[in-house]
């Protein structure tokens, strides 16, 4: 059974049809590459799954039950986490503080509950170890590489029992070595049975890590096939419109 199933989802903003009649399903423990040119509807689609937008038409089902998300917190509660393109990190805080931002651990009772520094350092350290990242909980974000920053943003998704992690262009602005690091992080998430949706412009990354690729063009789904059955040439053709549909 699929973890998340979208049926005939559409979204329009006034007269603009951003996403048009898209159906797709996500299985547990797979990495799905979501590709398309600028304005193809990738971000709009992902923002509906993350609870930022509500679909104009169509339904979403999670584990067979209908899913209605009014705001991002609802998505989070249903085990859908998003890693934003700009990572949403505070440079002036430590890695652990960023991982727990908005979900700080506290100890004590009632109004006297204080931040549990030791607990947060410990848990953040464990998550970084699970992700096989060299990030240290007490380091400031300011002094970190792009790959380490990604690790911090991804570590956030491990705080709750996430089923689906949406990643918006995680490899857009980092060095080659760090890209390899981030792709490894994605594999770790998959190995733990998490579904990863990877939005990317970078063909090599998608073909390196994804199991399946979905291509959007002008709001419509034009391809949904296994990576093994496709090729970068075909996907490029689908994105640009040289190939109409497969």
């Amino acid at each position: 059974m699929s973890v998340l199933e979208l049926t005939n989802i559409s979204k329009h903003f006034g007269a603009i049809q951003a996403v048009n009649d898209v159906s797709l399903s996500l299985e547990a423990g797979e990495v799905v590459g979501l590709m398309g040119d600028n304005g193809a509807g990738k971000s709009t689609l992902v923002k509906m799954i993350a609870g930022n937008f509500q679909p104009s038409h169509g339904t979403m089902r999670m584990d067979g039950k209908e899913l209605v998300l009014h705001k991002p917190v609802d998505a989070r509660r249903h085990g859908i986490e998003i890693v934003h393109q700009d990572l949403a990190l505070c440079n002036n805080l430590t890695a652990a503080a960023n991982v727990f931002l908005g979900r700080e651990l506290r100890r004590g009772f009632g109004p006297l509950r204080i931040l549990d520094y030791a607990g947060m350092y410990k848990r953040a350290g464990q998550i970084f170890a699970e992700l096989k990242s060299e990030t240290r909980p007490r380091d400031l974000i300011r002094q970190m590489s792009g790959g380490q920053r990604q690790a911090v943003a991804i570590a956030r998704t491990r705080l709750s029992d996430a089923k689906i992690v949406l990643m918006d262009e995680p490899t857009a602005a980092i060095s080659v070595r760090q890209v390899a690091e981030v792709l490894n992080l994605i594999r770790r998430l998959r190995d733990q049975g998490i579904t990863v949706v990877l939005i990317s412009h970078r063909m090599p990354d998608v073909f390196d890590v994804a199991d399946r690729v979905i291509v959007l063009r002008r709001g419509r789904k034009v391809a949904d096939k296994r990576i093994a059955d496709s090729s970068p040439v075909e996907v490029t053709g689908l994105i640009t419109g040289a190939i109409e549909q497969v």
């Binding site: 991002p72 917190v73 989070r76 934003h84 700009d86 990572l87 949403a88 990190l89 505070c90 440079n91 002036n92 805080l93 503080a97 931002l101 908005g102 979900r103 700080e104 506290r106 204080i114 931040l115 350092y121 410990k122 953040a124 350290g125 464990q126 970084f128 170890a129 240290r136 909980p137 007490r138 380091d139 400031l140 300011r142 002094q143 956030r156």
Partner: protein, 332 residues
């Protein structure tokens, strides 16, 4: 890799000594100590109980507001209205007590006034997206004007039945001969330090100053926190106003005029960054203390008081210069 998980978790970039040496507030503190030692030898009048009593008490009014201002500055905001809010709160206290109400009623009126003004500033800034500079600049004008309206621009120096209680509150020295305002300041500094270091609220202040967009995306209630922080800032001005009224024994409508600049100077000298995300309660106190020591020592050393602004202004610029040097180093 023979590094265990526990070692990684325990790994710090800096030990406590290097953290201390990098802290601006620490160096300002050292500067104060050195200045005090020098002044004790250079003048006969500095290290006298009377003068120390005066200095510590004079520091307090700036220091109390600097605590609130530091919290605002940490979020990347600014509050220019504190001097006028101090005046309005003092006046509310004075007018209420002058009309025959008790000291409790007077204090309640002053605190309520502060909270309403802070909430007004905060809502405009957080929910309607007004720039803090403009909103609080407007409030600077409004609050002082309201103080003039409330008192008909007269001096109030009779505080009704609880007159003596109010004077004792601000002018007394109930514990070991330490001036009461000093005790209040220390308590408020400890409270502020605790909030900044140990509470979720404090953590979120730094997060908002560091990256407001990130704080919003991760579910920090940014708007509510911003309203709260401007209320705290106004409240600190209100508390300073109550204490100062008790100490002076009279309220005029020009009390606290220009104080906002001195308070901001104290916060910045103590290491708060106007860009946001940086600042401590200890810094606010030492910043205020340095300004007062400079002012006091110029008088004692027989230097013309007109030089005061030059010295304080230089301190502000030096403090910002230190910050620039650290930024350049960290971007290397």
């Amino acid at each position: 890799m023979a590094v265990t998980l526990d070692q990684t978790i325990a790994q710090r970039q800096h030990n406590w000594l290097s953290t201390l040496l990098k802290s601006q507030a620490f160096w300002v503190f050292i500067a104060i100590v050195v200045a005090c030692i020098f002044l004790s030898f250079a003048t006969n009048s500095f290290a006298t109980p009377k003068n120390v009593y005066n200095i510590t008490r004079n520091v307090t009014f700036t220091a109390i507001i600097a605590l609130g201002m530091t919290m605002v500055i940490i979020t990347g905001g600014i509050d220019l209205s504190v001097g006028s809010v101090l005046c309005l709160c003092s006046m509310m206290l004075a007018v209420t007590m002058h009309a025959g109400w008790s000291i409790e009623a007077g204090i309640a009126a002053a605190i309520l006034t502060a909270l309403v003004i802070g909430a007004f500033n905060g809502v405009l800034i957080a929910y309607l997206g007004f720039p803090p500079f403009v909103v609080t600049l407007g409030m600077l004008s409004i609050a002082r004007s309201l103080a003039m309206v409330a008192s008909n621009n007269t001096v109030v120096f009779q505080f009704g039945p609880d007159h003596d209680k109010l004077l004792a509150l601000g002018g007394g020295a109930w514990v070991f001969g330490i001036a009461n305002p000093v005790i209040y300041t220390l308590l408020l500094a400890l409270l502020t330090g605790f909030i900044l270091r140990w509470t979720k609220f404090g953590r979120h202040l730094y997060a908002i100053g560091g990256n407001e967009h990130a704080a919003t995306l991760t579910g920090v209630p940014v708007r509510m926190i911003k309203v709260a922080v401007y209320m705290i800032s106004a409240l600190s001005a209100g508390i300073a106003g109550i204490v100062e009224t008790g100490w002076l024994g009279a309220v005029t409508t020009n009390i606290g005029a220009g104080m906002e600049l001195q308070v901001i100077a104290a916060a910045v000298i103590g290491g708060a960054s106007l860009v946001g995300g940086v600042g401590t309660a200890f810094g606010a106190i030492v910043g205020a203390a340095l300004i007062e020591v400079i002012r006091n020592s110029l008088g004692l050393l027989g230097i013309n008081a007109f030089w005061q602004g030059t010295f304080i202004g230089s301190c502000i610029i030096i403090a910002v210069a230190f910050e620039r040097v650290r930024q350049l180093r960290s971007t290397d």
